[in-house]
Homo-oligomer: 126 residues x 2
């Protein structure tokens, strides 16, 4: 169970990070996400980090890399569910998560992506 | 990181199971889900088991229990993302997942819940 599942809902891919990511699982996630963005033509990627208690520079870099890869593939990335303590730590560490948008929760992330695209996300099956 | 996050999207709660669940984390998940259903008035619960490679009687019972609790609270449960091998194992073990609806993936699960309720799931923030 060390592959993080990538869920698809309409034009959005949703990833919920719950495991302690190691080098290999991060690479696998980046690859899975990139493949799925291309395969599905997704316009947005939402990464939920509700379960992540500690964001260090490794996780921060991973989020920034995923956002950069997605952007190359014409998809916007939003990180949602950040805990207050994580936000404090990130600022204290001087990590800015460059290029990564954040939203409070999944719903606000979806709303943000809708706003970015100026159209509604279809939840219906395609 | 042993608490499974419960995401909310419109009237639906989404849970993606990625960790090996133990007795305690299953109890925590059931409690979190029940609280969140009441708190948000959610009409549907989608449990994604894409990452689950082995479904034994313990996991099967957990899914059935979550479905029963949700039903008590007037929410329908759909299990999505079951691997073919898992389906085969379940049948071989004679586990029927009584009372649990299944759908192929998240999108089809959302569509199923929409159909159950006869109305559209709002993805917009509330």
């Amino acid at each position: 169970m060390d592959r993080v599942p990538v869920l698809k809902l309409g034009d959005i891919l949703i990833v919920s990070i719950q495991i302690d990511l190691q080098d290999q699982s991060v690479l696998a996630l980046q690859e899975d996400l990139a493949n799925k963005v291309v395969e599905t033509g997704a316009r947005g990627v939402i990464i939920d980090i509700t379960a992540v208690e500690i964001v260090d520079s490794f996780i921060g870099r991973m989020l920034a890399t995923i956002a950069a890869i997605s952007r190359m593939l014409d998809a916007e990335t939003v990180v949602v569910g950040m805990r207050p303590a994580v936000a404090i730590t990130l600022v204290e560490l001087g990590l800015s998560l460059g290029g990564v948008r954040t939203a409070l929760n999944l719903e606000k992330g979806v709303a943000l992506l809708n706003h970015i695209d100026g159209s509604e996300i279809a939840t219906a099956t395609r």
